[in-house]
Amino acid sequence: MGSTLILRLIAQRLALGVLLLFAVSVLIFAGTQILPGDVAQSILGQAATPQALENLRRDLGLNDPAYIRYFRWLGGVLTGDFGTALSNGRDIADALGGRLKNTLFLAACAAVISVPLAILLGLLAVRYRNGVIDKAISGFALASTSLPEFFIGYLLILFFAVELQWFPASSTVFDTMSFGARIQAIALPAITLTLVVLAHMMRMTRAAILNVMQSAYIETAELKGLSAFEIIRNHAMPNAVAPIVNVVMLNLAYLIVGVVVVEVIFVYPGMGQYLVDHVSKRDVPVVQAVGLIFAAVYIGLNMIADIVAILANPRLRHPK
């Protein structure tokens, strides 16, 4: 009985996610069609003859109405064909493969450090609520939500790469690199990303646990004489899992965005760097492709957060 309800909710959420992704693809496509000028104009430049423009437009299929071009683009995307870059004529899907892997590797490393650390610090803040540790953590959180990524990034470069020379200042990675060398290369960007999301994640974890701690059953546990850590472990944690997973997923989604700036700081060959380069070159097909992938990852993480919340909700698992 309960499992069919959960399955139905999850199926609904998945369907909504797919629908949202299609709507987002329309929005991204429409967002690049705002201007009257077109791709042919930007390839050939201002000095192009009308005849040359016309020929190129016909070759690229630009004379078709926007919705036909959209469906052609979407059809390509669904079969893994993102078209070719305007600036260098290379296949976009080829260029993306390695970069997507690099970006995900960097984000994953940052997540592996930041998630356990944020939960631990959140727990500590609750355990010593209103004490020195809690105040210090809150102060750090306030400061770090106000710090731009590049402030943290360049400060780390100046200190750890230039002064101490522990890590390289720019994170060059290549395929034949050993795992250890790769970790050393991405240590600084991973730490920067960690610091960027840590405070927010910590604060939300603290709020989620505090919320649970104010329930009546926690008071009962306290009256039974359990120690503070036993209460947190046995009574607060199981009920706080759903909100915490939600917090983690939201922050991972944020990590995906923060990665854009961090990759530029450390000259890391990932998706963000690729996107920024091609935005300034006004290379629309690349921007559309990368924009769509970032949006898909973002929507996907949010969807997972919702599904985990459904699974972890005891009221849904045992309906009356």
């Binding site: 987002v24 929005l27 967002g31 731009p148 590049f150 360049y154 470069i157 300034s280 970032f294 973002y298």
Partner: protein, 276 residues
């Protein structure tokens, strides 16, 4: 009513620094020791009596660039925040008062816009739009209006069912009266509490765009653009890029301190904080 002694120290620091930045922004041409684009010394010259913060990547006085940068940064952030508040609150109130399909259409569209990370969508749009000040303010303002819209709509839905609004409707007042004379005055305090946070977001967002080379274009520079100009010095141990980066952080922290204090002063506003 406002007793100066009862303002907490943190808020005083915040107020003082915010005022200092505003002063620099307003009176930039009068207080900057050198011109904005004037080359006055060596490349990345050290801190000295004539150049209090040293010189930048082209030998321009860094302090003067910082002061002019404050002007551009704060101007764009204020304009974008104002646009997002006007747009977001008017549309949000309208959605709440009119309801029906209009509310549904607008709310679903806002959901859609918010399902794409703001920075990513801004980059997509900026790849085809010309890099001008107006474009930048419009893009930042419209994207941020989605968050104001959600808050304004949520607040207005609550107010819309109150007795005095019902009374106004029965009196036969039009929709614009309901929105501007009944709902707006009552929704003002939660919106004002949000103002500081949206401003900080605008400053950080603008700085990120300019740092990526897609915001304010040279020879003008906001603080984010100045970080970009001077970032190559970092690997040689020249910390010039950290000065504008630090200024962004300091401005954001000061406004945060003031916003926190305003938020705590009226306890019924607590919980109205968004994030983003």
């Amino acid at each position: 009513m406002l007793d100066l002694k009862r303002i907490p120290v943190s808020a005083l620091i915040g107020l003082f620094l915010t005022a200092l930045f505003l002063f620099a922004a307003l009176f930039a041409p009068w207080i900057a020791p050198y011109g904005n684009g004037e080359i006055v010394g060596d490349v990345w010259g050290p801190i000295s009596a004539t150049h209090l913060l040293g010189t930048d990547n082209l030998g321009r006085d860094l302090l003067s660039r910082m002061i002019y940068g404050a002007r551009i940064t704060i101007f764009i952030a204020v304009a974008a925040t104002a646009l997002s508040f006007i747009l977001g609150s008017v549309l949000g109130f309208t959605a709440a008062v009119v309801g029906g399909w209009l509310d549904q259409t607008m709310s679903r569209f806002v959901d859609l816009l918010m399902s794409i990370p703001t920075l990513i969508f801004a980059l997509v749009v900026l790849s085809v739009l010309p890099s001008t000040l107006v474009t930048l303010i419009l893009v930042m303002g419209i994207l941020d209006a989605t968050r104001v819209y959600r808050l304004a709509r949520a607040v207005a839905v609550d107010i819309n069912v109150m007795d005095f609004v019902e009374a106004a409707k029965l009196r036969g007042e039009g929709r614009s009266w309901i929105i501007f004379r009944e709902i707006l005055p009552n929704a003002l305090s939660p919106l004002v509490a949000e103002l500081g946070l949206r401003f900080i977001f605008a400053v950080l967002f603008l700085s990120a765009l300019s740092f990526l080379g897609l915001g304010v274009q040279p020879p003008n520079a906001d603080w984010g653009g100045m970080v970009k100009e001077n970032k190559d010095g970092i690997v040689f141990g020249i910390p010039a890029a950290l000065i504008p980066a630090g200024a962004i952080a300091l401005l954001a922290i000061s406004v945060n301190l003031v916003a926190d204090w305003v938020l705590n002063r009226t306890s019924d506003l607590k919980g109205g904080r968004g994030n983003g």
